[in-house]
Symmetry: C2
Subunit: 355 residues, 2 copies
C-alpha cells in the first residue's frame, strides 16, 4: 500500500466543472494543492484551484506537464480519452484506476460487468445496426430505450422506442455510434448509494438518497430514502461488492431502481456524484472530502448522517430564485460560479436541512 499523501502535496483533477470545483475546495481543506486540467477558460474549478492547466484532454505536452506537476491524478468525469490515460499512468497514479474507467465508459461493458457480479440490471442487448435493433427488440420487447454505448449523460444520446416503428428515428439519434437497447424496469423510485473505498480496501457508504429526475436531469435527492432496513443493507452490500470487484479507490455513485423484485442497478459513475451533494450539509466528511481522502490514502470518514437533507439542483433560470433562497433558514446555497445561465445547465444546488 502506498504512503498517504502529506498536506502540501498536489492533487491533479481532470475536468474543471462543478464537481472539480467542490473537489478542489475539499482538497484545500485538507491542506492539499490542486491542479485542474480543463480546456475551458474561467471554468468553475479554476476559481478555487491553485493551478489551471488550460489544454485539451488529448494534448500530449500538456498531459506530460500535468502529470509532472501533481502527486496523484483523479477526475470529475469518466469519458477521458484512453490514449491520454495511457500516457498519464506511466508518470503518476490515477485513482480511481483504469479498470473502473474501462467498465463505466461503455454502457454495454458496464451492464455485463454488473451481470457477471450476480447483480440485477435492466434487460439489455448490443445494437450496431437496424438488424441488430430488430433482434434486440424481439428479445427485450417494447417499450425500450436505445442509448449510445459511450459519452452519454443527463439524458443525451438516448431515444425511447414504443415499438419497431420508432427504430429508424432512434437509430438516427445514435448518429452511427454503437448502442445498447435497454428494457424498461418497473420501479417505484430510484435511490443512489455514494460509496467510497480506500487503497487498503476499507469501504464506507453514505446513507442512500432518493432521486427525482425531470427531463433526464436530477432535480432532487432526499435522505433518508424510502427503503426498508433490508433494502438499505442490500444497497450498501451491493455497492461494496462493485467497489471491491474493481479494486476501486475513491468515491463512486451507484444508481439503483427499487422494485418489488429487489434492487436493480441502473448505472455506476466512477466519481463523486450529483446525488451525493447532500453530504455537504449532512455529514462531517462529505463526498468530496471522502474522495480526496481515498485518493490521498487517508482514513475515510465514517459516512454517518447527522441530519435529514433535501438537495435541490438549481438549473438554468432557477438562478433567479437565489435571492429568495438566501433568505431561507437552514438552506445552504452552493453556486458554481458559471458565467452564463443556460436552460438545462446545472448552476448550483441548495441543501435544505430538516432537523
Amino acid at each position: 500500500m502506498p504512503e498517504p499523501l502529506s498536506p502540501g502535496a498536489t492533487i491533479g483533477i481532470i475536468g474543471g466543472g462543478q464537481l472539480g470545483r467542490m473537489l478542489s475546495v475539499a482538497a484545500a481543506r485538507l491542506g492539499f494543492k490542486t491542479c485542474i486540467l480543463e480546456p475551458g477558460g474561467d471554468c468553475p474549478a479554476s476559481h478555487v484551484a491553485n493551478f489551471h492547466l488550460q489544454a485539451e484532454y488529448d494534448d500530449e505536452q500538456a498531459l506530460e506537464r500535468f502529470a509532472d506537476a501533481v502527486d496523484v491524478i483523479t477526475y470529475e468525469f469518466e469519458n477521458i480519452p484512453t490514449a491520454s490515460l495511457d500516457l498519464l499512468e506511466t508518470k503518476c497514479p490515477i485513482r480511481p484506476g483504469r479498470e473502473a474507467l474501462r467498465v463505466s465508459q461503455d454502457r454495454l461493458t458496464e451492464k455485463k460487468f454488473l451481470r457477471d457480479l450476480g447483480l440485477a440490471t435492466a434487460p439489455f442487448a448490443a445494437v450496431s445496426d437496424a438488424d441488430g435493433l430488430k433482434a434486440a427488440l424481439d428479445e427485450i420487447g417494447a417499450p425500450a430505450i436505445l442509448k449510445t454505448r459511450r459519452f452519454g449523460y443527463d439524458g443525451k444520446g438516448q431515444a425511447r422506442l414504443k415499438g419497431l416503428e420508432d427504430a429508424d428515428s432512434a437509430l438516427e439519434a445514435m448518429a452511427g455510434a454503437e448502442a445498447i437497447l435497454e428494457g424498461f424496469v418497473d420501479f417505484s423510485h430510484e435511490v443512489s448509494v455514494i460509496a467510497a473505498r480506500g487503497p487498503g480496501g476499507e469501504v464506507a457508504c453514505f446513507d442512500p438518497g432518493e432521486n427525482v429526475h425531470r427531463d433526464g436531469i436530477l432535480r432532487t435527492t432526499s435522505v433518508p430514502a424510502r427503503l426498508t432496513a433490508g433494502q438499505r443493507t442490500d444497497a450498501v452490500l451491493l455497492a461494496a461488492k462493485i467497489l471491491n470487484a474493481l479494486d476501486y479507490v475513491g468515491v463512486m455513485g451507484v444508481e439503483l431502481f427499487v422494485t418489488n423484485q429487489g434492487l436493480i442497478v441502473n448505472e455506476i459513475a466512477p466519481r463523486v456524484h450529483n446525488s451525493g451533494h447532500w453530504t455537504q450539509n449532512g455529514c462531517t466528511v462529505d463526498q468530496f472530502e471522502q474522495h480526496i481522502r481515498a485518493v490521498a490514502g487517508w482514513p475515510l470518514g465514517d459516512g454517518q448522517r447527522h441530519a435529514d437533507v433535501v438537495m435541490e439542483n438549481l438549473i438554468g433560470d432557477d438562478m433567479d430564485r437565489v435571492p429568495q433562497l438566501a433568505k431561507e433558514a437552514d438552506t445552504a446555497l452552493h453556486l458554481y460560479g458559471k458565467a452564463e445561465t443556460r436552460p438545462g445547465r446545472k448552476m448550483g444546488h441548495v441543501n435544505r436541512i430538516l432537523r
Copy 2:
C-alpha cells in the same frame, strides 16, 4: 441601501492568510469571485482565490488596480495603512467601514469607545513614557499589563508588570511605541460573541463560545459557553450595541471576560475571528459566509447552532497529529496550506462535533 451584489461579482480581500482563505471559499460557495491583496507569495488564500495581487499594502499602483478589479473590499486584519484606505475608498466601498477600523486599530481609542458606550472594560490609562507609566501604575495598581496601542496580536507587543520594578523592561518591550496600561480583570473565563450586521442594520449573533488561551494564543473554543441565560442575553445585546454604534457591516469578534460583576469587554476585532471557526461545523451559514453575505448585502444567516462543537487550533507541531486526527469520527479538519510549520504558527484547526 445599495443593491446586493449578484453572483459573479468580485470580492476584494486584503490579507491572504487563513481568514482570507476561508472567506474566499465561502465567497465561492455563493458564486462570487475573489481577489486577494497580499504581499506574500503562495499565501493560504491564494490557493482558493480567483486572483492574487501580490503587492505591498501601501503600493499605490497595486491598490488602484485592486480597487478597479473588485466590487467591494473587505479584509482579514485590521492594521491596514490609513493612507491605503484613503485611496481605496475613493474607488470602491470598504466593508466593514473606516470607523470600525479607526476604533479597533488603536487599543486606547477602542477602550474609550467602549467606555463611552457604557460598556465595562478593564481599567486603562495611556502611557507615552516612564513618567506616564508611573502615573498609570499609581492609578490602576499592579499587577497590570502594558500593551502597544497599535499592531499587537497573539500576545505580541505586550509586557506584564508585577509592580514599578518591571517598568523599565516593560517600556523597553514597547520599543518606543505609544502604549496603554491595562489593569487585570478577575474573570472566571473568557467568551466571545461572533456578531454580524448587514447594510440594512439587521443583526445576527452566533451563540457565544468559550475560549481557552495558552501562551497568549487561542487554543480552544467550545460551544455552548458556560453562561447563564441572562449572561447570554447580555453578551448578544452588548455585541449588537457595538455594531450599531459603528454602523458596522460584516462580522465582528467581541471578546468578553465573565466576572462576578458581569461581562467586561476585552477587545473587539472588525473581522471574522478565530473563536468563530466552530461555526463551520455547527451552523448552516458559518461566520465566513455570514461575513460575505453582509458585505455583499445579502440576507444574513440566522446564526442558529445545531450541534455542540469544540474547536481546537493546530499550532506548530500539532501538524504531526493530523494523521491521527483524520481517523477521529465527527472531527472536521481544516488545514491552511502553509508550506512551513513554525512554533506558534496557526497551521489549521479541527472542529469536534458533539452530538
